[in-house]
């Protein structure tokens, strides 16, 4: 490039030098490369789940309970019926506990507690709950419901542990949605003479519903995959059981039990169970995303 006029000669000094351009390309390449690396584990996990898990799926896999003595009987080690039903039962009860309480606390935080010291404290404690390791929730419930009552493991105790785990997720997601509701909506309802409770039940909650459903579904998806809080609250058993005050099997716990087995067939059962679990959780995630798209807020 030849200098044709004084001004372009000056500008030339500011052009991107080859060294800077090289650095830019290098950095952008590294960032893109790292992004690809981040997605490799996901692809590998899903690929191995499908390739190993699908082969153990069959009708009897879903319709029989796992059997105990697996060392010699490689042909009839059973399936995951009790685990799937157990997971559904435990998570259903956990949801029945955590969702009303969680939504209640979120409504209180937004509608009544706004800006108060006590609300700050509650929010801080909810954040604390978010960070508590899931196994510590198991310990909490063990202390209160097993040491405290002197009884043994039971499905509903697992539900309580999972409910503790779901609470902060439900509260924080609902709170975010509730704060998005325009204040004018509340004020117009109040100005028309509606009492506070009616505003909450007839105006606020219906408006926030789709958004809150998303948060709730994500909380359920998270709880369904947890192993640690169930290990010494619901324990595990092999039989299908519809009584939540008994020992109860669950998918994550059965996978965890099967991982350590030296028998290939049992490990394959773990892959099949893992595929079933991941399918359930991904379905919940997909539904959650579809619902959130219907929300008029955000």
């Amino acid at each position: 490039m030849s200098a044709q006029s004084p001004s372009s000669a000056k500008l030339h000094r500011f052009a991107v030098t080859p060294a800077r351009r090289r650095k830019d390309r290098l950095a952008r390449g590294a960032i893109s490369g790292a992004t690809v690396i981040a997605l490799i584990p996901l692809a590998l996990v899903l690929y191995y789940l499908l390739s190993k898990g699908l082969s153990s799926w069959s009708w009897s896999f879903f319709s029989t309970d796992p059997t105990g003595n697996t060392f010699f009987k490689t042909s009839s080690i059973g399936g995951v019926k009790s685990a799937i039903l157990g997971t559904i039962e435990i998570v259903a009860l956990a949801s029945a506990i955590a969702i009303p309480i969680g939504l209640g606390v979120a409504v209180w935080l937004v509608e009544y507690g706004r800006g108060s010291k006590f609300a700050h404290l509650v929010r801080f404690f909810v954040d604390v709950l978010t960070g508590v390791p899931s196994i510590v929730f198991g310990l909490f419930i063990y202390i209160v419901l097993i040491v405290g009552t002197g009884s043994s493991y039971a499905g509903y105790k697992g539900s309580f542990a999972l409910a503790l785990l779901m609470l902060p997720v439900v509260i924080r997601s609902a709170e975010v949605i509730l704060t998005l509701i325009p204040t004018t909506l509340r004020e117009s309802a109040l100005a028309l003479g509606a009492p506070r409770w009616k505003v909450i039940f007839r105006i606020i909650l219906p408006t926030a519903l789709p958004g809150m459903v998303t948060g709730v579904l994500l909380a359920i998806a998270r709880a369904a995959g947890e192993t640690a809080p169930l290990l010494f609250t619901a324990a595990s058993t092999r039989n299908t059981n519809f009584n939540l005050s008994q020992f109860m099997n669950s998918l994550p716990v059965q996978i965890y039990d099967d991982v350590t087995s030296p028998t290939t067939a049992v490990v394959n059962r773990a892959w099949g169970a893992a595929l079933a679990l991941v399918t359930m959780i991904l379905l919940l995630n997909v539904i959650a995303r579809l619902v959130s798209r219907r929300s008029r807020l955000a």
């Binding site: 500011f14 790292a34 590998l44 209180w108 509650v122 960070g131 959780i281």
Partner: protein
């Protein structure tokens, strides 16, 4: 209507009742959360006390001897195992997570952005036990020869090399944890990067910065606190992660001799031994849970402060933002 009786408009005490009930009911619910956490904490300390009485608080945390049959409960190998694996997770996971956030926010074609975020979030949807299963049956055996190569080449560095690589080991646990904390660190970083004012970025580009120079000078300094906060939240996750680590760390009750050897962590010891534990042993596991609880509390507390400060940038700068809009640029027309 001067002097009209407005009291006819007021609600009767009976009609006010549901309002009061709802308000106090919900307040009680909020208070319940507080009471529960405090209650749990007190009970946990109570259950852990026999173990602390057995070895002393200092001895429990810093004695390098976890021997159940000998009733020796020094949790140092567990504490160090937790720190080694979660430290590794940060070293591997955070740069990659921040890179995905930069890519999604600054480099990615707009059409791909939401697909990319969904994919990264899917990593968080895979349950811990499934990562453990995959880690022990796929990742660990596949990586063993590579790990052995590194262990042989780097044997001059203490703790890194010099021994036989076992299939479950600290490194694999750290790697699995890195994958597991990636979504949260990435999500927080993305959130914080979205708060960088477009003015700053445009100013950098306008001064002739390349894309990377813009990222380095305008984006990264602006969200440093938020990224550090996100990394700390990831650290909190990594410290408390239980099942995946239990499966891939090897569950050896002594401090591993090197990075590619078997070890143990606080969470793993609880998951693994609690079922059969009695007496002082069980109390020691409660104590391990208490240490874990306090550790995650500290890490998460610091993280929250950093993240909250970073995602509300208005509180940082007192100067109001300059209004953005079509403004006449002096000399632009004259120069044309």
């Amino acid at each position: 209507m001067p002097g009209g009786d407005r009291s006819t408009l007021a609600r009767s005490p009976l009609a006010r009742l549901p309002d009061r009930a709802l308000k106090y009911g919900l307040t009680a619910l909020a208070a319940l959360i507080l009471a529960l956490i405090v209650f749990f904490f007190v009970r946990l300390v109570g259950e852990a006390r026999p173990a602390f009485a057995h070895t002393g608080v200092f001895g429990f945390t810093f004695d390098n001897d976890w021997d159940v049959s000998g009733e020796k409960f020094g949790a140092l190998p567990l504490v160090l195992g937790t720190l080694i694996t979660s430290g590794l997770a940060l070293v591997i996971g955070v740069p990659i997570a921040v890179a995905t956030a930069i890519y999604a926010n600054e480099l990615c074609p707009l059409r791909l952005r939401s697909a990319l975020t969904v994919l990264v979030e899917l990593l968080a949807a895979v349950p811990s036990v499934v990562y453990g299963l995959w880690g022990i049956f796929f990742l660990a055996p596949k990586l063993q020869p590579i790990e052995q190569w590194f262990a042989d080449r780097l044997s001059f560095i203490p703790f890194i090399g010099g021994g036989a690589v076992t299939i479950p080991n600290y490194f694999i646990a750290g790697l699995i944890l890195a994958i597991m904390i990636l979504p949260i660190v990435s999500a927080i970083s993305r959130e914080v990067m979205a708060t960088v004012p477009a003015d700053h970025k445009e100013a950098a580009l306008g001064l002739g910065a390349t894309r990377w120079e813009m990222i380095r000078t305008a984006v990264l300094p602006y969200c440093r606190a938020g990224i550090v906060g996100g990394a700390m939240l990831g650290l909190g996750r990594a410290i408390g992660e239980t099942i995946a680590v239990t499966i891939v760390i090897g569950d050896a009750p002594q401090l591993g001799s090197h990075l590619f050897g078997q070890g143990y962590s606080l969470a793993a010891v609880i998951a693994n031994e609690f079922g059969e534990a009695q007496g002082v042993h069980r109390s020691a596991l409660f104590a391990a849970g208490l240490v874990l609880f306090v550790l995650t509390l500290l890490v998460n507390g610091i993280a929250r402060v950093l993240v909250n400060r970073a995602s509300h940038p208005t509180e940082r700068s007192a100067t109001p933002p300059v209004p953005v809009g079509p403004q006449p640029i002096a000399g632009a027309v004259a120069g044309a």
